[in-house]
Symmetry: C2
Subunit: 389 residues, 2 copies
């Protein structure tokens, strides 16, 4: 009798498709679920693609770690936006940032090795670690979802290979202070660990808070893996382009992984990505400014629930994570919110935390739809608090 | 000190980039190396993409296992070309057939499980198995590169999870007889194993030989994974679209894998692939007819070397594997061929066989370039046979 591997039984079921299926059963539901940007890529990308078809080599394999043109654009971006000068050989283009994490993980860890995740964590990181026969060691953050250095230090064992940070954070929206990231990066150096830094939301910060990449720290080169995505900043989700900067020591290992899984990233998407990066981060700035307003409205509305809902300050990304003082499993609450109030959020247990936590994504909301979405959510949570689930 | 994982040290270094680097050092080299088709995708694909940018949902995530439109086109193809009626849920679209193999493997095998490969094998299969902490169990084929059922049966242990076949075969070009594939498929059923059937070259057969998919066998549904690619048939290598048919029992496992590694296949490439499949296999038929002529010329020229080079009958794909009676490591021969004769082939040891084997790909050659490429090869091998390496 043939059946799926024990390996995959151990991996959690992805929650986004599960919630999507619930939404599909309740037409008219407003989704505060999946983390997507509501805007398209820059129009210059469409222009750049207009003569792609006729280009020599448009339809054949390209180098395993990315085209020279895209890597040059990424080098330029890393210099101008992150202030670092990175050799092209250390830049790896992937079919999305999830793949970058997966490939980084395989390059640094073998069966049984431990990878430290800060909880609440990004669920696909937990899934990738389990899938790779490694052990996710989950270290809780503090009440404001900020790193707890004592707990992190205590979690390191001889089998630890890396500490993963996501800042600005999915699912909490919090941004780690430069000092916290530096302390984690130093801790990794001291213990011979890699620091895997997921910076997907680097441009999405608010109220004067700014992002810093651990790549900028002195001495970070040899042990820091920084992961980036075009999906959010450039409205690029469907094109599947992410990239990472790796230490020189990992180049051969990552080339093997890329060759085995992907051969090369999709070339049409790489041409699109090159054009997007040439437009640069100024493209997303007006959208980020608009998210800043949406975020204010979201937080103002959520403040009505302060009696039983805590929302630690989300200064980045387009998420916030509600800590609800409700005696229910979060999935129960999610089901009731969709069924009876027509609004969808993501249950917190998928992020590795116990208690009634709910993640809101406001990335898909323009200002004019935020009132309705968050209004339904507040109404629903208040009703649940009074009448039960 | 941070360094790459033991996992990746155990994985062989991909040979294609290594040979490509040698070629780059010797300008003017004719490459009989990488397996690529020399023709572009159908022009209808370009037409279908002309209004992609403006489509609703063009830039957002789509379902993890493929768009409904592409899956419908694949269903249609499986019905018309392979004679099977497959539920859409069993169809998984990936960013290339290599990814399909990787994802199938993770779905069926856990750490320490054994996967049987027939040698000479496709090197990325060996790499994926090692990368996934599984054990490649290599079973030699016979002198004509055909399956040896006795040896295959003997190789099965309680840890075996799957037998992998590639027919038409890379690197040998041989096509397995329907009876051989049926015997392997039955052997798998009998022992509770999966049969992973890579059918990338299904349309590339010559001299009246035809391909059959194990999916067509009665009782195959529950344990057969068939893998397909658009890269060759539709000149689609850079677009990175492959797909596979999986047993129903693997659906959840594969969804988890797709979500973790890819989120969804690149949507622009899926739109392109849908248009290519709508054109259908008639598109590649003239090219296959042209390869048939090239193949005849290649075999006629190689016949001059019959004294010391055996070429078992390659009835499919666009490869042949030369068994050279030469007392040299194949990489030594490859280096000399590139350096002194300006022609590149792939050394056989990368396919898991010992001895002086060389793989020729004639996929990149149009008729007018084949004489020059194979001419240099024959001249080089004759010189090496006489004067040494």
């Amino acid at each position: 009798m043939t059946s799926a591997s024990a390996r995959m039984h151990a991996v959690q079921t992805p929650v986004i498709p599960t919630v999507a299926a619930l939404i599909a059963k309740t037409p008219g539901t407003i989704s505060l679920g999946q983390g997507i940007a509501h805007y398209p890529p820059p129009p210059q990308v469409n222009d750049a693609l207009s003569n792609f078809w006729q280009q020599p080599n448009a339809h054949v394999y390209q180098p395993v770690t990315g085209t020279p043109a895209l890597k040059a654009a990424i080098q330029q971006k890393l210099a101008s936006d992150n202030g670092v000068d990175i050799d092209a050989a250390r830049i790896i283009v992937t079919a999305g940032a999830n793949m970058a994490f997966n490939n980084a993980l395989l390059a640094v860890a073998s069966q049984g090795d431990e990878i430290i995740l800060l909880s609440p964590y990004y669920f696909n990181h937990d899934m990738a670690i389990t899938m790779a026969d490694c052990v996710p060691v989950v270290v809780a953050t503090d009440d404001n979802y900020q790193p707890d250095m004592t707990a992190l230090t205590r979690a390191i064992t001889p089998r630890t290979k890396a500490i993963v940070t996501v800042s600005p954070n999915n699912p909490t929206g919090v941004v780690y202070a430069a000092e916290s990231l530096k302390a984690i990066n130093d801790l990794c150096a001291e213990h011979g660990l890699f620091h895997i830094s997921d910076e997907t939301y680097e441009y999405f910060t608010y109220d004067g808070v700014t992002h810093i990449s651990p790549l900028e720290f002195a001495g970070a080169d040899a042990h820091t893996i920084s992961i980036y995505s075009l999906s959010k900043a450039y409205g690029f989700a469907s094109w599947r382009i992410g990239y990472m900067v790796i230490p020189e020591t990992l180049e051969l290992a990552v080339e093997k992984i890329q060759d085995t899984i992907l051969i090369c990233p999709p070339v049409v998407s790489q041409v699109a990505a090159t054009a997007a990066l040439e437009v640069g981060k100024s493209y997303c700035e007006p959208y980020v400014a608009s998210y800043a307003e949406v975020r204010k409205m979201v937080l103002a509305q959520l403040a009505q629930l302060a009696d039983f809902v805590r929302v630690p300050q989300p200064d980045g990304a387009f998420y916030c994570l509600l800590n609800c003082n409700l005696p229910y499993e979060p999935m129960q609450v999610v089901q009731k919110l969709i069924r009876d109030f027509g609004v969808a959020v993501i249950p917190g247990d998928t992020f590795g935390i116990e208690g009634c936590y709910l993640r809101i994504s406001y990335g898909a909301l323009a200002k004019d739809s935020v009132d309705a979405g968050i209004g339904r959510l507040c109404e629903g949570l208040q009703a649940i608090a009074v009448d039960g689930c």
